[in-house]
Symmetry: C2
């Protein structure tokens, strides 16, 4: 395994959210660093949020731990307890199964870049308390996907 520069990893911008929930993450760009490094036991992404962009819809994971650390700029962390601004070197962690839905919003005028680390558990499901959306288990084996809260497909 050789070193590589994070900036040389291609930036992706896609989302598998249903169209009505995709606009909020249109300004989210991510480099899959751990994939570039040939790893599959956890995920490390370098995420760049344009001004106004959200990191995701606000969610919590049933089975996966999640960790973020700000690399440049600032973003607002939104949880069940409200909002707090995160700046360079600030960290936050979201243990699996804790129903404290979270996301980051770039409310500044500059890009915000953060690293996010997540487990890789095919049993993981996500709940999105603000919207009529849930993510089913099986994300990595390809059988998962998004449905409404009642299980109906978009």
């Amino acid at each position: 395994m050789k070193k590589f520069a994070a900036r040389e990893v291609e930036e992706a911008n896609g989302t598998s959210y249903p169209p009505e929930f995709a606009k909020a993450v249109a300004g989210r760009h991510y480099r899959r660093l751990s994939v570039a490094a040939g790893l599959d036991q956890f995920g490390v992404n370098l995420v760049r949020l344009e001004p106004g962009a959200w990191s995701s819809q606000r969610h919590w994971h049933s089975d996966e731990d999640e960790f973020v650390i700000i690399q440049s700029g600032e973003a607002v962390l939104v949880t069940e307890e409200g909002e707090m601004t995160m700046q360079v070197g600030d960290c936050a962690g979201f243990p699996a199964g804790v129903e404290d839905a979270h996301h980051l919003i770039n409310k500044s005028d500059e890009d915000c870049v953060f690293l996010v680390v997540g487990s890789r558990s095919d049993s993981d499901a996500c709940d999105y308390p603000d919207i009529d959306l849930k993510a089913l288990p099986g994300r990595y084996s390809g059988v998962g996907g998004f449905t409404r809260k009642d299980g109906s497909h978009y």
Copy 2:
């Protein structure tokens, strides 16, 4: 879960290496960010290497993926293929079971700070090809530990 600043997490400096192998990591300091965040599915440590310090003895993991990204300063990555200098934003990954032993050495005159992410697998063992050392499975359940290559204890 609240945000916290990485710099506010206590810096540790210990090692469980046998004394003859501990000197190389005497200038290695680490902040257990993921532990501070209440996570246990993977480890994220912010490591500071003083000039001359090693990140570890050169090793490879049987069952754990490992990922590093340089945050400030520079360090020399040593693998089976030789040495390469890593600078800010440079990444490297070490997939579980790949026998390419690796470590970082700070050969500069300034501190080097990097993030390291690792899986948490109690079945993991480590081999140290340069020295008479191996790490047994059971590191997280407390039954593992270091022995000589022939299995005898230090």
